[in-house]
């Protein structure tokens, strides 16, 4: 086994070696090691060899479980299954055209991901990546160049072969469309086809997380054909390399798919799938209870209470970076004083919020957007807990013992309830919060980041509010857009040269130690200065009837059914 370990060490790139050494020296947990190693393109066998050499088990929970390619077998089932049949899935109605490059809503993410695929696929844990259209990816020494070996024998639904030219064209299109995940990471000519089965991507700067940006965690990075024109929609031109072919699409009712018999992953156990569109979660739940749908792409704790008590319902729960930010204006107004922001944050009873809003299905937050699931998260920063006396003392020191403020929020999921709970918690310290619950249109347009004034962005934001953030595989978007000086979503108007420097350091860092060090600084700064309160990161919830198995979900509204089958 040690020979295998040495073999791995000798054959890895410097970045991969850094991760191996970090794990060997105990600086990474096994889970973190598997995650980081997979991102950096270490093979399943290599990961297993390292873990075994370091005294860990190579049984379940190792790279095998994390890296199993989708569709390899229906072996996710430990129960007997039958071939054939179909499944009905409840999903949010797409809010715009199903254009894979420009789509922005969960309904479209879920429906397009049935047909198109990513270079890096979602693994069955729901939070990591594995082989997709790329079977291997390798960074250079400083993470500025990534080489992707493409899967061979893949065909588009019209029978044409999938080649490197498709990947190169897709990258160009994404850059031209201003894809948020790839902006500033690659340029229009960054991707080059070395040959039909190899793509080399030269980044604008080192980035140790690049594979995440060409995975389902960047939902628009689906690979589209070389001759695809931006603006084309899936229903106008059904296409893809995936396990399912689009048969019908009706914006009013739903979409149906049939098995792709030429799929590289083999024959799917199910023959067909149907996605039924819903506007709200309540009818999805009753549709499941009435046995008219078999699975839900997403639901929340409050609407789906009946599902938790249903012994025939299998909940797919994924810990995710989904969170709410309670922004406070740092440039003017009552919250410009750091002591006032800290005081408000000290009134949050986070365990109570998690229990009341999510029945415990969330992780505690510490007033920064670095989710505990990120491999570079530093848990040593002291956890802020409710401390009413300290909050009162800070307010008195700041000269605002009886603070009153309007708390703006949009009517989305549990956010109105969160606002009410924060109001009652803040009242204990003498802070009066007037809850202003608004429709999402009004909230985003008037309270969060109004269009005017344009410069700096978001400078028209209200003094205090709650905004939602979806899951991201890396925190770059949260840090860049919401917290960096003049960020496009910087509703707190936070402008800290120290933070900006730490974020820049994080962006450039590619080794484990460098990323962790940069994150430690970021967490410390944000926890101290509190431009945003982050009380929790809540789990993504999806689920299906137990008559089906082999279903897994991302935290961004995608349900993967290539391994799904009916139980016997």
């Amino acid at each position: 086994m040690d020979n295998q370990y040495d073999k791995v060490r000798r054959s890895t790139t410097p970045l991969q070696l850094d991760v191996v050494e970090a794990f060997a020296r105990g600086r990474l947990s096994r889970r973190e090691f598997i995650q980081r190693a997979t991102i950096l393109g270490l093979s399943t066998g290599a990961i297993g060899a390292v873990i075994a050499a370091c005294g860990g088990s190579t049984a379940s929970g190792t790279a095998a479980a994390a890296s199993q390619a989708p569709g390899a077998s229906a072996a996710a089932a430990s129960v007997p299954t039958v071939a054939g049949g179909s499944i009905k899935v409840a999903i949010q109605r797409p809010a715009g055209p199903n254009d894979p490059i420009a789509m922005q809503d969960l309904g479209n993410y879920g429906t397009t991901a049935q047909c198109f695929e990513f270079l890096c696929a979602l693994d069955k844990t729901g939070s990591g990546i594995t082989q997709g259209l790329a079977i291997k990816w390798t960074p250079n020494t400083d993470g500025t160049v990534w080489t992707f070996d493409l899967r061979q024998g893949v065909k588009w639904h019209d029978g044409k072969p999938f080649t490197a030219a498709d990947v190169v064209a897709t990258m160009k299109r994404l850059v031209a469309a201003g894809n948020a995940g790839l902006k500033g990471v690659i340029g229009p000519d960054s991707a080059v086809a070395k040959d039909d089965n190899t793509v080399v991507v030269t980044l604008l700067g080192g980035n140790g997380n690049f594979p995440y940006l060409v995975s389902c965690f960047n939902p628009q990075s689906l690979i589209t054909p070389v001759d695809y024109v931006s603006g084309t929609t899936l229903d106008k031109r059904p296409s893809g390399t995936g396990a399912w072919k689009l048969v019908t699409f009706n914006q009013a009712t739903g979409a149906t798919y049939a098995r792709n018999d030429d799929w590289w992953g083999g024959k799917t156990p199910l023959d067909a799938t149907e996605f039924i569109f819903f506007d709200t979660i309540g009818p999805m739940v009753t549709a499941y209870q009435g046995q008219q749908v078999d699975a839900l792409v997403q639901f929340d704790v409050l609407s789906g209470k009946a599902l938790f008590d249903d012994p025939n319902f299998n909940i797919i729960q994924t810990e995710a970076a989904l969170h709410r930010q309670i922004w406070m204006r740092t440039d003017k107004g009552q919250f410009a004083d750091k002591r006032v922001r800290q005081a408000l944050a000290l009134t949050f009873d986070r365990p109570a919020l998690i229990q009341q809003l999510f029945q415990g299905k969330a992780q505690i937050g510490n007033d920064h957007p670095i989710w505990p699931g990120y491999p570079y998260f530093d848990g040593s920063i002291p956890q802020r807990a409710q401390n009413i006396d300290k909050a009162k003392a800070l307010l008195a020191e700041a000269g605002v013992p009886n603070l009153t403020a309007d708390l703006h929020n949009g009517q989305l999921l549990e956010i109105p309830d969160l606002a009410v709970l924060l109001k009652s918690q803040a009242a204990q310290a003498g802070i009066t919060l007037n809850v202003k619950s608004e429709s999402l249109d009004t909230f985003y347009g008037a309270a969060w980041c109004p269009g005017e004034p344009k410069d700096p962005p978001c400078s028209g934001a209200s003094e205090l509010g709650i905004v939602d953030y979806g899951h991201r595989a890396t925190p770059d978007v949260y840090l860049n857009a919401a917290l960096k000086s003049k960020g496009i979503w910087n509703s707190s108007q936070y402008a800290s040269p120290t933070f900006d420097a730490a974020f820049s350091e994080f962006q450039k860092s590619v080794t484990v130690d460098a990323q962790k060090a940069a994150c430690t600084k970021i967490e410390t700064i944000l926890n101290d200065e509190v431009p945003i309160g982050v009380p929790y990161f809540y789990n993504y919830l999806a689920g299906s009837s137990k008559t089906y198995t082999g279903i897994y979900a991302s935290a961004i509204g995608q349900l993967f059914l290539s391994s799904a089958s009916k139980t016997a």
Binding site: A252, P283, G290, G445
Partner: protein, 317 residues
């Protein structure tokens, strides 16, 4: 009669124009950014600006209004901002869905309500009358979404007798479609039973007390002959008018029922269009609902004119 119909049609055109103008004003004058609403709050500003350019939403308002009016006249409502597809086919599909649901609801409620109203009127102040009035008041006091929710939970979820979703499978036969629509139609029928039954009862009581009804009885006509020849056609005039107004509401106003049963009729379609600032769909939908109202009220006026010749004579003079 011909002049009457022509006059009503001309007035309808004026009403339609007013409707288009009001809907356009509401959709365009209030603060909004169509591109931002479609792409969402996290889309890059460049994408939003590009979309607004493509949709033409940043053109002067008078040009957009003129385009809208021309589109209505030529029945070319343009493409939906959401789907990028022509508005009319999707809207007509939604109208068809609403028509099926409304038709079934009216089929369930009208005969039962009229019979109940007549029965109650002939037994005025007796137990049957009080029971029917009480049932009517109760049923019309409970909102249809409450009735719908109870039906979903009891009939759909617990007893599993009927599907909880109202949309039938594609190409379903008529019995299957009726099975899927039965619950939402019943929820609506329960509410409208009260209105129609009470209106029928009131109209019948009024006619039963009239001189010509007493004359008919004194002439020797049987009760059923009196009811058929003299009472019914006069008693049902207000009922016909109420039903006509309800038809328009059934097409566009039952959003709550459509939401509960996940049925994409005109209500949901219009709500979605309003939330997403899909102005072409909003304008076209408002026109269609307006036309439904006008056709329904015109039809009711014609039926009433047929039932009561004095109305025809008055309009001709």
């Amino acid at each position: 009669m011909g002049r009457y119909i022509l006059r009503r049609l001309l007035l309808s055109l004026v009403t339609l124009w007013l409707l288009v103008t009001i809907v356009f004003a509401i959709a365009n004058v209030l603060p909004n950014d169509v591109g931002r609403t479609i792409l969402g709050p996290f889309a890059p500003q460049e994408s939003v600006d590009a979309l607004n350019d493509r949709l033409g939403t940043n053109r002067p308002i008078f040009i957009r209004y003129a385009d809208t009016v021309v589109g209505v006249v030529t029945l070319d409502f343009g493409d939906s901002y959401i789907t990028n597809k022509p508005v009319l086919p999707d809207l007509m599909a939604a109208v068809a869905r609403s028509a099926k649901l409304a038709g079934l609801a009216l089929f369930l409620t009208i005969p039962v309500a009229i019979i109940a109203g007549l029965y109650a009127a002939r037994r005025r102040d007796r137990l049957a009358d009080r029971a029917i009035v009480l049932a009517g008041v109760t049923s019309s006091s409970i909102p249809e979404f409450v009735t719908g929710t109870i039906l979903v939970v009891v009939v759909g979820v617990q007893l599993k007798l009927l599907p909880v979703l109202a949309t039938p499978p594609p190409n379903a036969d008529i019995p299957t479609q009726i099975r899927y629509l039965l619950m939402p139609a019943t929820a609506m029928a329960i509410v409208y039973f009260g209105y129609i039954a009470r209106m029928t009862r009131a109209g019948t009581i009024d006619v039963l007390q009239s001189d010509y009804t007493r004359t008919a009885a004194m002439k020797g006509l049987t009760t059923s002959q009196t009811m058929r020849r003299h009472v019914l056609r006069n008693a049902l005039i207000p009922t016909v008018a109420v039903i006509a107004v309800q038809i328009g509401y059934l097409f566009g106003g039952i959003i709550a029922v459509e939401k509960i049963f996940n049925y994409n009729g005109m209500g949901q379609t219009m709500l979605f269009a309003a939330q997403r600032k899909d102005i072409p769909t909003l304008v076209a939908g408002a026109i269609i609902i307006g036309i439904v109202y006008m056709v329904a009220t015109l039809a009711s006026d014609l039926i009433i004119a047929w039932m009561n010749p004095r109305i025809r004579l008055d309009s001709n003079s």
